[in-house]
Amino acid sequence: MNMKPELLAPAGDLDRLKVAITYGADAVFIGGQQYGLRSRAGNFTRSEMEEAVSFAAMHGAKVYVAANMIAHPGDAEGAADFFRMLEEIGISAAIISDPGLIEIARESAPDLPIHLSTQASTTNSEALAFWKEEGIERVVLAREVSLQEIKQMKDKVDIELETFIQGAMCMSYSGRCTLSNHMAERDANRGGCAQSCRWDYTLEEQNRKFVMGAADMMMLRHIPELIESGIDSFKIEGRMKSAYYVATVVRIYRQVIDRFLEEGERFRFDPAWEAELRDAMTRETSTGFYFGEPAIADLQRKRRARKTFLGRVVGTDGTAGRVRVEPRNAFSVGDEVHCFGPAMESVVLCVRSITTLEGERIERAATPMRHVYVELDHPLGEDWFLTSKG
């Protein structure tokens, strides 16, 4: 009998946290105002964290806080208060990589579980045994381990394992890159990564391109193998990604996981899932190190997302088929739009009319964020997303 893994989604802010949970995430990871690695994400204040925990609890989900920066002298001042605060408000775990911060968290907030961040580059069973003895509840493995190694490690040490299944990847072992420090004056290990690996380089003697950026990870097709390997938590990368991206990714992975667990040997992968996921992605994809050493095809190649994010339903006015939409890209009366919500199926609907909040009928919603009422030939709920048909 296969164990149901946790589907863990990123949440850059409260809105995206609610979207992730509504669309099926079992847990979300967020950043606090300090100690995280995404200084440019909309990190959570204490009151936002409290609201997040309360919303998650209502939906049976968990909230983890990433505190995975590598501290320099002075950075750890205040860390004990920070971890105590996480413990007080009921955060399910702190994700940490710096051993100094782990020590502080353990001493100041003994009831706050600690997940070891992927930044700690854990690649073998002896390291798992070490962290287990140190009281770590879960280890987020380095992206450089293969599926076969994961199985071996899982067999040898009884500790929760979390691995990345979707999203952008560091070209280096995470944390073992300071290109950004040297090239952009921003500390990669303190939230300032400038993604210098994705800049343009040439091999000097040969004067030809040298690619250091990685393709994005996508493990959708391999969910059955990942579940069978006993991995406890499947992590989606992307605290900087939009609510639309989070909703798309969580919804599709949720479908595949649930369908496989329900159908077992009868399960058949539907290529439409992958097509829909790809439509929201802007880079080519790879399975990273899961099945062996990455090759040239696993390097960064940009692609245009096939679907354009048109808008999000933010409310209704009680009129059947009419919803209030927050536009992101232009759409017009008569357009056929792809709509999806937390439920499994998506639909293609025709835009029957567009009306401003002041009641003026218009042909085209062209101003991003200026709410409009949209009449469609099917009722939609709040937090549904509208995209182009692709």
């Binding site: 590598i70 501290a71 320099h72 002298p73 750890a76 990589s97 710096d98 051993p99 100094g100 911060l101 782990i102 020590e103 502080i104 700690a120 580059s121 690649t123 073998n124 069973s125 002896e126 390291a127 798992l128 045994a129 070490f130 962290w131 003895e133 380095a142 450089e144 381990v145 190694e149 490690m153 070209m171 280096s172 072992y173 944390g175 073992r176 890159c177 300071t178 290109l179 420090n181 090239m183 921003r186 500390d187 290990n189 303190r190 300032g192 800049w199 380089y201 040439t202 091999l203 000097e204 003697e205 040969q206 040298f210 690619v211 250091m212 190190f289 050493e293 990455p294 040239i296 696993d298």
Partner: protein
């Protein structure tokens, strides 16, 4: 207090010459257990070098600072007993898996934690001394002030890289092989035009700093730092030996630096403020 110089010979003969020039410590690499090293040594060579070093009242440090995979775990366990048998003086360990093996095997060779980019605070040093480390090699991305605060905040022996290219990026991917080129190259960044050495080995790909770090050892005496690493990664063997022998004999002149054709700098150590 006398500063000790740890040097990284490219081969056995050079190890001998560096000892003659006054090296206090030879740092050796083992192909599948060392992240990167100018020289990788067989068991026989390590045995000989250890005997020679001890004869010259110097020590031998073996860098076992790889991130181990499941295969590497077994190899490290085997190698550990051999290193103990030949009387190696110190290990450099990075992977806590390696530290766990060290601890559970009852190994008596002292170790320093070699955290590379992620060893940046006194709190971390205290963590590693609690689990058995005698000392720590700090990240190169620290200012002099930060190093001073770390030194004051922990009891660990502190080692700092004071010479050589520093590694900025380590990928497990074989990026040079993937690009169909040789295992040592230079890459140029388009916007600044700066050129960086890149090397590939069994552990993956390593991108090094454009400049060669060269720090004044008198600064370290004031900070109470006892051990300096003079690293030869990504350098030409003869150039390394020439400059290191000069440093060890306290004969390095501005003229030597000029004629080497290399760009020297003080890296993050020389900065007033830390990069955030």
């Amino acid at each position: 207090m006398e500063v000790r110089y740890s040097v990284t010979p490219f081969d056995e003969k050079q190890a001998q010459r560096l000892l003659e020039a006054g090296a206090s410590d030879l740092v050796l690499g083992i192909e599948r257990l060392t992240l990167r090293s100018p020289g990788y040594f067989s068991r026989e060579e390590m045995r000989n070098i250890t005997a020679q070093a001890h004869g010259a009242e110097a020590t031998v440090t073996v860098r076992c600072n790889a991130l181990l995979d499941e295969g590497g775990v077994g190899l490290f366990r085997k190698e550990l007993s051999f290193l103990e048998e030949i009387g190696v003086d110190r290990l450099l360990l990075l992977d806590v898996g390696a530290i766990h093996i060290w601890r559970t095997s009852g190994c008596r060779i002292p170790f320093y934690v070699d955290g590379e980019t992620v060893l940046t605070s006194a709190e971390q040093c205290r963590f590693f001394t609690r689990i058995g480390a005698q000392g720590a090699i700090l990240s190169r991305e620290l200012t002099e002030k930060e190093i001073s605060r770390i030194k004051e905040g922990c009891d660990a022996n502190i080692m700092v890289q004071a010479f050589g290219h520093t590694c900025l990026h380590h990928s497990k991917r074989k990026l040079l092989t993937i690009h169909g080129t040789k295992s040592k190259e230079r890459i140029r960044e388009a916007k600044t035009g700066k050129s960086y050495p890149v090397e590939e080995n069994a552990m993956g790909t390593h991108v090094y700093s454009a400049e060669v770090l060269l720090l004044d050892d008198r600064r370290f005496e004031e900070l109470g730092i006892e051990e300096l690493l003079l690293d030869g990664n990504a350098m030409d063997r003869e150039e390394y030996e020439y400059l290191i022998c000069k440093i060890l004999r306290h004969e390095l002149l501005a003229e030597d630096l000029r004629t080497s054709g290399m760009d020297f700098g003080t890296g993050f150590f020389g900065r007033e403020e830390t990069v955030r």
